[in-house]
């Protein structure tokens, strides 16, 4: 027994010695850390998007949209002569993963952040990018908490819950809704939108007869539908995602609901029509930002997207494209990648033309005119423009 363990004693001391040497040797270089050492080469744009977890379908669309913009800018000579390089990291719609991803981007020396899908995951990354002095143009996440954080380096290219609610209220007024019922899924995005809508609808004197929250992982919503029907509803605003939204619409129509079924931008997706089924898509409308096919040269954009990635552009691909373009414009006008200069440039950006119309930012970094429109389901199941709400 004796000899056998003598070696452990020796092994133990060697390991301890090695650790001490590492301690002294590495002490100079390692600790500085943080800060983005400007390597002169490409301008690195970081993007956090969901590549795993429940929302992972949207990660690919966002990355493709951003890549399309980066390639276009690089083809046109890049920004201030430097090429742009896109680095995408996983956010998985979860705080812990998003923070790890944000730190990874910071350590890879990104000078701008153009991602952000789930509000709950984007929120904790705000202080990390601020401390690393990195400006942020958030592509999809639009909860008012991001604005409430009051960070100068945060800009949203997707209309916030409040702005989308304004469009929904305008549409409700236009359709003379007598009894409105709001349904959300209890998650960050849908509760933000439903609260904004209910407060603005009441201000506008509309009769909100009731609201409820459904559990999205369930399939059977007959009881929620029953509560909605009993309230004599003629106008429903569903603020959750398409997975449960399409089922609620189907079951409401099956239970004899004839009124308008308005859905938030989260549920506007070709799969909504597919799941809710043929014959159940009438009277379904959606509040949504301008999509490429609604714009004058929009068709060209989706064609460019299609031949590069082989599929039609999915939701938020356009917003990610705009986020990259806006960030690049900000850096170009600021003439440097310093956060404060870029923030200032973005703030006084006036009507910068993008694929979905002109963009300029308010004081808090949100779009001055979110340009929400009303879309409806075309016979082929896709969502098409129904009302520009200009009037």
């Amino acid at each position: 027994m004796e000899k056998r363990f003598g070696s452990f004693k020796r092994v133990g001391t060697i390991v301890v010695a090695a650790a001490c040497m590492a301690l002294t040797a590495g002490c100079s270089g390692g600790v500085a850390g943080g800060g983005n050492s400007d390597t002169g080469g490409a301008l690195k744009f970081g993007m956090l998007a969901p590549f795993s977890g429940s929302e992972s379908a949207f990660g690919e669309y966002m990355k493709n949209g951003a890549t399309l913009a980066v390639d276009e800018i690089n083809a046109a000579g890049g920004v201030n002569g430097q090429q742009i390089e896109l680095i995408a990291e996983d956010e998985a719609c979860d705080a812990t993963t998003a923070v790890a991803g944000a730190n990874k981007l910071v350590s890879q020396g990104v000078i701008a952040s153009v991602g952000g899908y789930c509000s709950g995951a984007t929120l904790p990354t705000l202080p990390i990018f601020l401390q690393a002095k990195i400006p942020m143009v958030i592509a999809a996440a639009n909860s008012d908490d991001l604005v409430a954080a009051k960070q100068p380096n945060v800009f949203l290219v997707n209309g916030t819950g409040t702005q989308q609610a304004q469009a929904a209220v305008k549409f409700a007024e236009k359709s003379a809704a007598k009894s409105i019922y709001v349904i959300d899924e209890g998650d960050a995005y849908s509760t933000n939108l439903s609260k904004a809508f209910i407060s603005q609808a009441k201000e506008a004197g509309l009769n909100v007869s009731g609201s409820t929250t459904v559990t999205p992982t369930d399939k059977d919503f007959s009881t929620d539908v029953d509560k909605m029907m009993k309230a004599g509803t003629d106008f429903v605003y569903y603020t959750g995602y398409y997975q449960a939204g399409s089922l609620v619409n189907h079951q409401a129509k099956a239970a004899g609901y004839k009124g308008i079924f308005l859905i938030g931008d989260g549920a506007v997706d070709a799969k909504f029509a597919e799941i809710t089924g043929k014959g159940f898509t009438d009277n379904v409308y959606g509040t949504f930002t301008m999509t490429p096919d609604m714009l004058q040269d929009g068709g060209a954009w989706s064609a460019a997207y299609k031949d590069k990635f082989g599929t039609d552009p999915g939701p938020y691909a356009l917003q990610s494209y705009n986020a990259v373009k806006v960030m690049a414009e900000g850096i170009k006008q600021a003439g440097s990648t310093d956060m404060d200069k870029v923030d200032a440039a973005l703030h006084n950006l006036k009507d910068f033309s993008t694929a979905s119309g002109s963009i300029s930012f308010t004081e808090q970094g949100t779009l001055t005119d979110a340009k929400f429109v009303i879309v409806t389901i075309a016979p082929d199941g896709k969502f098409v423009l129904s009302d520009r709400l200009e009037g």
């Binding site: 027994m1 004796e2 363990f5 003598g6 452990f8 004693k9 133990g12 390991v15 301890v16 090695a18 650790a19 001490c20 590492a22 301690l23 590495g26 002490c27 390692g30 600790v31 500085a32 850390g33 943080g34 590549f51 795993s52 996983d90 719609c93 979860d94 705080a95 812990t96 923070v99 790890a100 730190n103 990874k104 910071v106 350590s107 890879q108 789930c118 509000s119 709950g120 995951a121 929120l123 904790p124 202080p127 990390i128 401390q131 690393a132 909860s143 908490d145 954080a149 209890g186 998650d187 960050a188 849908s190 509760t191 933000n192 929250t213």
Partner: protein, 377 residues
């Protein structure tokens, strides 16, 4: 004169031929336990050195997340490894810790330090509320009921206003002692630690060390033996004077408090928590860390926790397939190597060979049947 140290009253039965009290065991470098301690200290020093080698925020942040996983795995090891209670809702206490400290610091203006005792108290109460009714049940009911409680706590956090609803709580302050806040860095002897990330890494490391040392010592004490007895044979443990219900509740509460502290650490570290990071998936991941590492073995559980938390970061394509792989690994481990990578009773993974050799030695001395028994007192 044998040193009579049983300080309890005289009516206690004392074995007649009591050995002379063995001298306090010296810190035996030679023995396996000694070697394990040396290895433990060496690993700790190496971990201390890492920030000086590569201070990139990404590496440090995933190491800190890994350390938090180690803390959770240590806590769950007490419940599953030592006491044999399958808890499928362990992340509920992680959430209770995070939310209690989050609410206290953001809405009630507690400083993070003042929040610690309250968090511990709340976790104890939660442990009793969840453990109380369920610990009378058989282990398979216990598994589903703890899973149910885990979901109840997550959904309640998601639905209530005070817990910030679905967006959760943001703006949780970091630790601050007497005016100095963790976020604004520290300068010690010329070495400048900037940024919260580095400091939290060291905090997590120290708390981890306390956990490893404390909980493995706990398992060698009276309470640890009671847990293992309850795990092996509940009726026999009851017959030996161990109140099994109380023993199980203690394991449950210690596990709960430990997870609560880990939750509080994660809250201050991330400065924002949301219900999406307390789903059943995370309870299952911690369980996998404990089971793959080796139930009831501290080194094994540490390895399991680091594997479960760090593997997806390093092997990118693994991230997609990790849950399927974990599922398969669980089944394979349970069938072919139920004691896990680093078995509990063996001090070192290769120790079974040693344990077998020791057993042969025991049998050799035991063979002459008619010797010792019945010697006159």
């Amino acid at each position: 004169m044998p040193l009579v140290l049983k300080e309890s009253s005289s009516e206690l039965l004392v074995p007649p031929n009591r050995h002379q009290m063995p001298p306090p065991a010296p810190f035996r470098w030679r023995s396996e336990k000694g070697a394990l301690n040396v290895l433990g200290i060496a690993v700790f020093i190496l971990a201390l050195a890492v920030p000086f080698i590569t201070a990139s925020p990404y590496v440090i942040s995933i190491l800190t997340a890994g350390l938090i996983y180690v803390m959770l795995a240590l806590g769950l090891n007490v419940v599953v490894g030592y006491a044999g209670l399958l808890d499928l809702g362990y992340v509920a206490f992680f959430a209770v810790g995070a939310y209690t400290s989050g609410i206290l610091t953001t809405t009630f203006g507690f400083s993070m330090l003042e929040a610690v005792p309250v968090t511990i108290l709340v976790c104890i109460v939660a442990g009793i509320i969840i453990g109380g009714p369920t610990l009378r049940l058989r282990s398979d009911y216990l598994a589903i009921v703890t899973l149910g409680f885990g979901e109840i706590i997550r959904l309640t956090a998601r639905n209530l206003e005070i817990t910030g609803g679905a967006t959760g709580i943001s703006g949780i302050p970091s630790w601050s002692f007497f005016g100095w806040d963790m976020a604004d860095g520290l300068v010690i002897a010329g070495i400048e630690f900037n940024g919260k990330i580095l400091l939290y890494y060291f905090v997590a490391l120290v708390v981890g060390l306390v956990g490893v040392g404390g909980i493995s010592r706990l398992s060698r004490g009276k309470m640890g033996r009671a847990w293992k007895a309850v795990r092996d044979d509940e009726d026999a443990a009851e017959a030996m004077g161990i109140n099994t219900y109380f023993t199980k509740i203690t394991a449950y509460i210690i596990g709960a408090v430990w997870a609560g502290l880990a939750g509080q650490l994660m809250g201050t570290y991330l400065s924002a928590i949301s219900p999406t990071s307390f789903t059943f998936l995370y309870s299952a991941l911690i369980l996998m860390a404990v089971v793959l590492g080796g139930m009831g073995s501290t080194p094994g559980v540490i390895i399991g926790a680091l594997f479960v938390s760090l593997a997806p970061e390093f092997l990118r394509e693994f991230a997609e397939w990790r849950y399927v792989l974990f599922g398969v690994l669980l089944v394979v481990t349970m069938i072919f190597r139920p004691q896990g990578i680093w078995p509990a009773n063996a001090v070192f993974p290769w120790s079974p060979a040693l344990a077998a050799r020791r057993a042969r030695r025991a049998k050799a001395t035991e063979a002459p049947e008619d010797s010792a028994a019945g010697r006159p007192a």
